[in-house]
Symmetry: C2
Subunit: 392 residues, 2 copies
Amino acid sequence: MQDPLTKVAGDGSKAGEAPVVKARGLEGVVALDSELSFIDGQQGTLIYRGYDIFDLAEHTSFEEVAYLLWNGSLPNQQQLDEVKVQLRAERTLPPMILDVLRATPEDANPMAALRTAVSALAHFDGEADDMSPEANYRKAVRLTARTPAIIAAFDRLRKGQEPVAPLRDGSTAHNFLYMLNGEEPGPQAERTFDVCLVLHAEHGLNASTFAGRVIGATLSDMYSAVTGAIGGLKGPLHGGANIEVMKMLLEIDRTGADPADFIRKKLANKEKVMGFGHRVYKTVDPRATILREMVEELSEERDARQWYDYSTAIMETMASEKSIYPNVDFFSASVYYMLGIDPDLFTPIFALSRMSGWTAHLLEQWKENRLIRPRAEYVGPRDLKVRPIEQR
Amino acid sequence: MQDPLTKVAGDGSKAGEAPVVKARGLEGVVALDSELSFIDGQQGTLIYRGYDIFDLAEHTSFEEVAYLLWNGSLPNQQQLDEVKVQLRAERTLPPMILDVLRATPEDANPMAALRTAVSALAHFDGEADDMSPEANYRKAVRLTARTPAIIAAFDRLRKGQEPVAPLRDGSTAHNFLYMLNGEEPGPQAERTFDVCLVLHAEHGLNASTFAGRVIGATLSDMYSAVTGAIGGLKGPLHGGANIEVMKMLLEIDRTGADPADFIRKKLANKEKVMGFGHRVYKTVDPRATILREMVEELSEERDARQWYDYSTAIMETMASEKSIYPNVDFFSASVYYMLGIDPDLFTPIFALSRMSGWTAHLLEQWKENRLIRPRAEYVGPRDLKVRPIEQR
């Protein structure tokens, strides 16, 4: 492998300018400071604003985590009540957004539908282009409140069902499952889903968050930035991986293949096994550890032990054959599947949670904004002259 | 000013890993190789795939430049005819996109409207998620053909007029002005606008292009990437500047202020003068030189000499007071204004042209894809423990 980071000469670098450093894919480059999360890829730890992800998953709700990300500290009871009221007040979609979703073909890619509807939300937000910190905070709440409603409405409309209005109370997790299924979830489903939301809320400068900050750093608005972030999360090298994981598990289930053999064959054919490895983690992703326990519990309770067994066999095979460990996508797939959610909604649900992190990154970006603009090294021809078209 | 580029220790860097380099705003970092354009910020030169921008502006059309960016060489007559046929075939909007635009409030931000409609185009493109090079090339053509139609339809609808269907022939410049105004432009207006499209087509890793490549590098689709790019271009630190330039010129015109005094007052108040300075150019942006000539010609012909006079006075004041030179936004504002285009369409028109460059960057990105994922340096607290909510 070529060294991804080398000093290069030329390219406009002159005395008095910053030295030019080349870093393909920006691996190993620190682009900015952030107080939002810390990932120790060697130790396999993840913290949000000082709190370990295990502690947060066990003791807090998604609403508390969203508040923490936006404000820097966990809420007391009054602050939590306030943010819940704010979220509830924003949960109902503007009628025109339902029209946009009705005009969306039923076979549309759900991430494309979400991207379009979130972009359209700006038209019905009088504060869309108000860049004051107060307005941006309200938009962070609004976007986090409305994203679940968009996903649920899209899914119901494509199944020929009418969207379900949100409840007047209840958590984000409770309301999302209610709006999706038209019936209130049980406490175990709600708590499981809530933990998933906590785990997916924030993860440093991943590609979607980074794209959002690059957009935001032009002083474009929050809708522009999160719309771009949704587009980034859609990619199979990012959030899109969890659908692929579920496809693999379903294929194993359908064909009755031995999971270890199935994986070894894939590896022999040099196929990528989705849900494994990470640019930052060199050991087990701590979120995968928490999700694996949830898969075990759910699969026992729902009498669907096979998902845990397949996943465990695949994990062990990848560890022994390649020393590569599961990431957050690997176990979240089975959790969502056992909660009765369609696989192509897994990435939108990732977005639903990450909306809290994306918006927190934007609030942070705008506190002390600086344009994010690297360079490309030009490797094309020079000194060509346009010839008349007859001579080309 | 703090040195933007310093080596930092820690942050997960271990033996065997790439060294960690810190570069705020990624200034001075080369993120990738590109054959698309070269900017010499010291000399003030810009080339697209080997051709100097002065040569291209004088001797080629937007369609030739788009072909050059996508394919790497200028088209011969047959190739140019082919790409024109392809663009014309894709110019008519899917009816549902017109519905999306009809549902857009008339006071919507035009860049938000463009972002939403371009995102929605994916729903009506059976190839949206086909990542083959052939399908992506066709999408590059399709997006470049449809963007002008979206902008024109949006503008007409908000003025209570029906959208105008594109002509069966004619250039992109000709058709856009026709669809916008409902009447065919004269040859001078067409040629002037065509040169503007050539000048704005491509400019290295600016923030919108970079955002698009970050999104595309997750192997997300072209619609996701260009939707994000539109969001980035919307920002006043990027494409959004040209509206601000026009507001300033109109204010000078309305108040009868002396342009040099007006600018000196702004500078004394530490206000930013839009349309000046550039992260890369340390001298005159060559595009500004070409556009300035166009402003001079147009203002003579249209008996609107004041726009040239104000612009020249502002340029000279900024040079003498601050040694800062105009960028592409400064003179394009007056050109578009004299062509009768509303100021809030200036940035969408930038997007119309840059769509060719964005899509060319995506075709290049996907030839040899690599995830673009820098790191943040964590500067927040550590080792906090979640306390029960009653104790917070």
